[in-house]
Amino acid sequence: MTAAATIRIQEADFDIAREIAGLTKGRTDIGAVVSFSGICRGGEGDERIAALTLEHYPGMAEAEIARHAERAMARWPLTGLTVVHRVGRIVPGENIVLVLTASQHRQAAFQAAEFLMDYLKANAPFWKRQESADGENWVEARDHDDEAAARWTQS
C-alpha cells in the first residue's frame, strides 16, 4: 500500500499515542513505527527560556513539508507518514514537532524520520522567537542544521 502523508500545522498540542493509533489502525502492513518529538527546552547552558513563539509561512510551510514527505516516500518503502508542527507560543516541556514514519521494517522508518527532521530544520519556513530574562530575541539558525540536511544528498 502506498503511503499518504498526513501533514498538519496547528496551535494545539498533539497526542503522540493518538497520532500513532491513527496511523496504524486497521493496517496489517506496518511492522515498525518510529516517532520523533521535538520538545521546547527550558534553557541552553546558563540561559533560561521562558517560552518560544513559532511563526510560519502559511502555504509554503505545508508545501515544503509535503515536498520532503514525498522525497522520503520515494527514497524509503514507507507505509505511513505523519508530520505535525505547532505554531504560536510554546512553553518549556511542551511539544513542538512530531514526525511519525511507518514501514514494514524498522530501518526505513528510522532513516526516513531522521531525514525528515534534518530537512525540516533547515528548509521548512518556521522561525522561533525566544523569551528569556534578557527579553525577546529571534533564535539564530545553526550551521550544523544545514550540514545535517546536506549529508542526505551525499549518501
Binding site: Y57, A63, H85, K121, A122, A124, W127
Partner: protein
C-alpha cells in the same frame, strides 16, 4: 506582485506583506532586494546583510539570481529555525 516578510525581516520592514510594482530593470530576487532597500531606512535595515536573507518565489526556495518575471508572491525571511 505580492511581497511577504517573516520573522525579523518582517519586524524591521514594519509590515508582513505588500503589493509592489518594481520597474522593468528589476529582474532578479537580488534586484528586488536592492530596489526595496532604496525605499526607506526600514528596508535598508531589514536587508543590510543580504547574504543571510533567504527568498522564496511562489512558495519555493530560490537563489538570489532567480528571475522574478511572472512571480505572484515573493517572500523574504531569515534562515529557518523550526523543528
Amino acid at each position: 506582485m505580492k511581497v511577504k516578510y517573516f520573522a525579523w525581516v518582517r519586524e524591521r520592514v514594519g509590515k508582513s506583506e505588500e503589493m509592489v510594482e518594481p520597474p522593468p530593470d528589476v529582474k532578479t530576487v537580488a534586484d528586488l532586494m536592492a530596489w526595496l532597500v532604496k525605499r526607506s531606512e526600514a528596508y535598508a535595515h531589514a536587508f543590510e546583510t543580504p547574504r543571510v536573507i533567504r527568498a522564496a518565489v511562489d512558495h519555493t526556495h530560490v537563489k538570489s539570481d532567480t528571475l522574478i518575471a511572472g512571480a505572484r508572491e515573493i517572500a523574504f525571511f531569515p534562515p529557518m529555525t523550526g523543528g
